[in-house]
Symmetry: C2
Subunit: 259 residues, 2 copies
């Protein structure tokens, strides 16, 4: 089982879009995929027409057993999506209360890892979507993942945020004593804007090889896909955005095979 | 002193851009303005070239006195911006630990209101920027504000998020026993995309009068402005985006005068 986390403390950079798009493309290659929604706002859950305000069992419930995960709980949480072979661990809005609820308890950083371990033979790939804030949910995602994808908007403020993300990553790696390779994915790139071009150059200068060689262009088909609960590659397999995500996936699969 | 909060639990919808743009336009009208950054990611603080990872005194310090605010602390936090007449209460990244630190203490919802009360004669307008998550920081902003602005991206997922924001607002109004009028501000509108046009219609159907009559268009000048730490109205007073924000401000000032 390969677990990939998609994270960035900056909001609206395409985390959910990246997770959903890659899930659709993995399925095309015949893999079984689980998408995990750890965002209290539940964008990924809403994308597939479930209501994060009204979910009976969700990722929130995994945290209600003082750090242990009952054997049968993970499979009770699983929901179907519009595509067979891609399932969802939904989020509930009560995740927003988690930070306060579990702050005094130790050992809450490995809940998601433990839950996924119980499903190791059902899914080949797991994609974890995270909220745009550093906290117990992001720590869980980073601790469970073997690879991290950091979507970054190509704009000035994003560069500063990236420093913080890699700084956070360093802290988590120290405490989990595990290396977590990451790929920076420039998104919402608009080559007509000076700011976009400048920011991209800055990101490539600072992070070199860790930045994917292509940029995800601004592509309106992504918004259309979320309206119809379709994976972007189902909506339009040959759109500019999906084409670049296919190349991203090729690269990630090559690295996963070598790992 | 008029206090306006800008909030939405969805990330990347233009909260920081809205706060900064309106601050610049208020100054043009001769008002003294304080911008308050309550986002642990510190976009507003970074916008003006301060480093949220390396700030000596910030909004975080206001919360370190068990709910009381020492008389002299608020004025110690104030930083200048590129424009005289507009000051900044900076954020520090340690705000991300606040939820865990203060969760067991009561009375932490009014810290920002208390801090602003000590500056009532120095600023006519205060604009509070919030993180994209429901928690003690957003509650503080809503409790301190007399008006709420909710920027909403015109896309399908945003409509669902709006329900949640108005739901949260209802909860806060119940506990503070205060009415908080709000304006929904459709942003990043791209009339060429079906999804944008559909989403806007849905938002207008659901919320009627509470939605501003115009939409903020996609305008690349906003990204340019953040790169040069300039208020968008300084960067290009006549850009399409700034023109609509001027109309937004006219409407808000009219309502503030009648309040
Ligand atoms: N390459 C792209 N081109 C055009 N629109 C995009 C692209 N990527 C994402 N979007 C749109 O931008 C918006 C934000 O994307 P998304 O919700 O995936 O970001 P996020 O980082 O998950 O946000 P949050 O911080 O709220 O979780 C959505 O409306 C999405 O459809
Ligand atoms: N009308 C607009 N046209 C084009 N770009 C815009 C517009 N409004 C905001 N932006 C850009 O979109 C990005 C997100 O905006 P901003 O950071 O203000 O959103 P936010 O809601 O504050 O995000 P967060 O949830 O991370 O706090 C920024 O790069 C900003 O420059
Ligand atoms: Mg998201
Ligand atoms: Mg912001």
């Amino acid at each position: 089982m390969h677990v990939w986390a998609i994270a960035n403390q900056k909001g609206g950079v395409g985390k959910t879009t990246t997770a959903v798009c890659l899930a659709g493309l993995l399925k095309e290659q015949g893999h079984n995929v689980l998408m995990v929604d750890l965002d209290p706002h539940g964008s990924m859950t809403s994308y597939f027409k479930y209501d994060p305000d009204d979910i009976e069992v969700s990722t929130f419930d995994l945290f209600m057993h003082e750090g242990r995960v009952p054997d049968d709980l993970p499979s009770k949480i699983i929901l179907n999506t519009t595509e067979s072979g891609i399932d969802l661990f939904p989020a509930s809005t009560s995740l927003a209360t988690l930070e306060r609820k579990v702050s005094s308890q130790g050992g809450m950083g490995l809940v998601i890892s433990k839950a996924l371990a119980k499903l190791w033979d059902q899914y080949q790939y797991v994609l974890i979507d995270t909220p745009p804030i550093l906290g117990v949910l992001m720590i869980n995602a980073l601790a469970a993942a073997q690879r991290l994808l950091i979507p970054v908007q190509t704009e000035f403020l994003a560069v500063k945020g990236l420093e913080r993300m890699t700084h956070t990553l360093g802290m988590v790696m120290q405490s989990t004593k595990k290396q977590l390779p990451f790929t920076i994915l420039p998104t919402l790139f608009d080559r007509r804007t000076q700011a976009s071009v400048h920011a991209l150059k800055q990101i490539r200068d600072l992070y070199g090889e860790q930045v994917f060689r292509e940029t995800i262009p601004v592509d309106t088909k992504f918004r259309d896909a979320s309206e119809y609960a379709k994976f972007p590659s189902q909506m339009d397999p040959d759109s500019r955005g999906v084409r670049v995500y296919r190349h991203v996936l090729e690269e990630l699969l090559k690295e996963a095979a070598n790992a």
